[in-house]
Amino acid sequence: MIASVTSATILGARGYSVQVEVHVGRGLPGFSMLGLPDEACREARDRVRAAVLSSGLNWPDQKITVNLAPPHHRKTGSGLDLPIALGVLLATQQLPADGVATSCVIGELGLDGSIRSIPGVAPMVGVHPQADWIVPADGVREAQLVTSGKVRSTASLRELVDALAGIGDWGTVPPGIQNEHTVDLGPDLADVRGQPVARFALEVAAAGGHHLLFIGPPGSGKTMLAERLPYLLPDLPHDLSLETTMVQSAAGVRLPPGGLVRRPPFRAPHHTSTAPALVGGGAHHLRPGEISIAHGGVLFLDEMGQFAPAVIDCLREALETGSISISRAQHHVTLPARFQLVGATNPCPCGEGLRPGACRCDERSRRRYLGRLSGPILDRFDLRVAVERSQVGELMATEPSESSAIVAKRVEKARRLAFERSGGTNADIPQSEIDTFAPLSTAAVRRLRAELDAGHLTGRGLHRVRRTSRTIADLEATPNEIIDERHVEIALSLRTAIGVERQ
């Protein structure tokens, strides 16, 4: 009296196949589970028993042994409830053996026998992309994205047993809104009054994928501006969209109705976030962190100076490689983390701003404040823009500013140019190919040399300015292949040196 059900569990953002073997035999009545179940998984025992009984089925008064194979890696979460229940029912012949043989199963059970949704359906289903799957109703859409087999679901264990026995119906999946493009109604750039330079920096960041830092006093609109960035970005390409869906599903983020994440995500973790919350981790299943959830989209760090410096430093690997490796004693996972970083910070603790003479802070506390994000991280921002509070006239202006839709059109055009040229965004142009993709005019070379000679620009900074200049040239109405002095000039002006005494 042995049964085996194929299921899956999750580690990081990837699914792993798990074979749930159930043996029901003679011995003292009891239930034991092998194969490194974690706390949530071990509790399946009581949930499964209650669910089976509430569904009007029999629970055997025999020795039940559940083995989760392969036994060496840790099984997490409650998604194994349903396969264990089906295993018990199969082993006690309450279900026909052929019903489950061809399907893989995941799902959590309620005590009343209802089947509940679980995070990470897409990556788990992805481990057997040709198989038929039985998943919770909420996960049908995302499961369909990754498997070519049949995806079925019912609302409760009782209905599932009936459907498998051929005496009940499968639950109906609401008609496909899957391919419909959901129009994204987010905050519009038209709401931002004034701030022409900050708006332009936002446009450049969107067009070139450059990291962007806003520096300014409270109330200057840093957050307002940053929140509008994702709505300037075009839809995700299909493969990136799928990757993002996988990660978000694994992290338990609510997916859009179509199941597929098509729009670039926007994540804004609070400054009290811990390092594992930001880069991923946690006890057993290594949940993806905010930087992975923001994969393909925007990670916005408001009050960047308030984050713990160690947490900020964790971002460096991801900014460099577009992925993050998390190692624990037992596991090692690599999570995707290609995001666009947008930071916002006050220039100093008093928040009075950078206007000469306005700040009331002494030198030491200013230095300490900005010192938290100085160095390697500050250097990675291609665009650093000082924003100030808008003046009264601008706030009360009645003519609306340019809307996101218009800016997004220009952004899309510039991104297409960049993609045709280098196969990626301008921020990703490799250093070795910068001369090919971003050629400079003689005047532009002279201008950059002057900056280098004056010590205002480092080697790394030079390449960053060249990439930004490329984007600025691409954004023009009649894009120019050769970067002109004017483009370099604008790129330099969008890279304010903050806290550095340029004297």
Binding site: P196, V197, L354, E363
Partner: protein
């Protein structure tokens, strides 16, 4: 500065100053009678001129110390740091210090010694200066230096370094430090220190290798006030080194001036108290010039001869009203960012305007010329 081997007299003076058993007072007295090289020999043979300044025990201690002293190491060190050594009887010794009762017997110097022959004004203040305090110090430093006055300060954080920076842009400056000249304290100011030892002057009364210690800073402050004709305190709390400098200055009959501030600001309480007690308030650099007895003809002339045209004219006009960000400039010009940026960059290159933390201001020389035009 060319590398120059230290003379035997310099090495001997440095060695004498390094002996712990030798107090500054005794060394001053001994040096007034005999030159350093001879004095060094006198210690070894125990001649009466030096012997009589000490008790028997103390002199034995001095001899032992002198005997063990590695004079060649001192020579190498002086040479490596290109440090000059002058004694209080040498001709190079600053005239302002010569009559001072508490003059250092030996001075160590790095940089351009000719600066010592010029008129000096000290600009001092708290290390925990506000941005506006530092801006004031920089401005005063610039304007004094441009008029040919040497700015003296202590290379400390805050006001001191701001004053040095301002002076370095337009003229000469002297730093008096409280440790050996082979090190920069605070270490953060290495860049300023390097520039000062190359083009300006750094002075210490302590031998090379002396670490900074709290008691050395008040002594350093005494030197700052002794060297200068006027001590200007830019910002100071109720207690602090700059008030020591002011007190030392008063004891020496030097003028003390202070920059007034709001009574609500902690960093102005010291300067306001000085003004209450009789110090002259500094409301602009002209007050310092008046105190020095300098007429308007000494004031710096406008430097820029660049002719501005087109949009640059409008930008200069806007900036003459108030300092602005690029954002505000673009709004006021109501044109594309590109055009404004190009015009601004040209103005920056000709030093007609300056940028700090994203804010643009008219530079000092332009302001001065603007005033004179009116």
């Amino acid at each position: 500065m060319t590398v120059r081997a230290p003379s035997n007299a310099e090495v001997a003076a440095a060695a004498l100053a390094s002996l712990t058993a030798m107090s500054p007072m005794r060394l001053r007295q001994a040096l007034s009678e005999r030159e350093p090289e001879g004095l060094w020999g006198d210690i070894e043979v125990g001649r009466a001129n030096i012997r009589r300044l000490f008790s028997n025990d103390k002199f034995r201690q001095l001899q032992t110390e002198a005997h063990r002293f590695d004079i060649e190491a001192t020579r190498a060190q002086l040479s490596a740091c290109s440090t000059r050594v002058i004694t209080c009887i040498s001709d190079d010794f600053p005239a302002a210090l010569r009559e001072d009762g508490d003059k250092p017997p030996v001075l160590f110097l790095r940089g351009d010694l000719s600066i010592l022959q010029q008129r000096m004004v000290a600009i001092v203040g708290t290390r925990r200066a506000t941005a506006s305090g530092r801006a004031t110090a920089t401005e005063l430093g610039e304007q004094l230096a441009a008029a040919g006055i040497v700015v003296v300060s202590g290379l400390a954080l805050g006001v001191d370094t701001a004053a040095h920076r301002g002076a370095m842009r337009c003229g000469s400056t002297v730093a008096v430090v409280g440790c050996g000249l082979d090190r920069c304290y605070p270490a953060r100011h290495q860049a300023v220190f390097d520039e000062m030892t190359e083009q300006h002057l750094v002075i210490s009364e302590w031998p090379l290798g002396t670490p900074p210690a709290p008691f050395r800073f008040p002594m350093r402050n005494r030197l700052i006030s002794a060297l200068s004709e006027i001590v200007v305190v830019v910002e100071s709390g109720d207690t602090g080194g700059s008030l020591i400098t002011a007190r030392e200055a008063l004891e020496r009959g030097r003028a003390v001036m202070a920059v007034p501030g709001s009574p609500r600001v902690a960093t102005s309480s010291g300067t306001n108290a000085l003004i209450r007690d009789g110090a002259t308030p500094v409301t602009s650099v002209d007050d310092v010039f008046d105190e020095l007895g300098l007429g308007p003809s000494c004031r710096p002339a406008p430097q820029s001869t660049h002719r501005v045209k087109g949009m640059a004219v409008e930008i200069v006009h806007e900036l003459s009203q108030e300092s602005l960000t690029l954002n505000q400039l673009v709004e006021r010009m109501s044109t594309s960012i590109g055009e404004v940026v190009v015009a601004v960059s040209e103005l920056l290159q000709h030093q007609i305007i300056t940028e700090s933390n994203g804010w643009f201001e008219l530079s000092r020389s332009t302001l001065v010329s603007g005033k004179e035009c009116q």
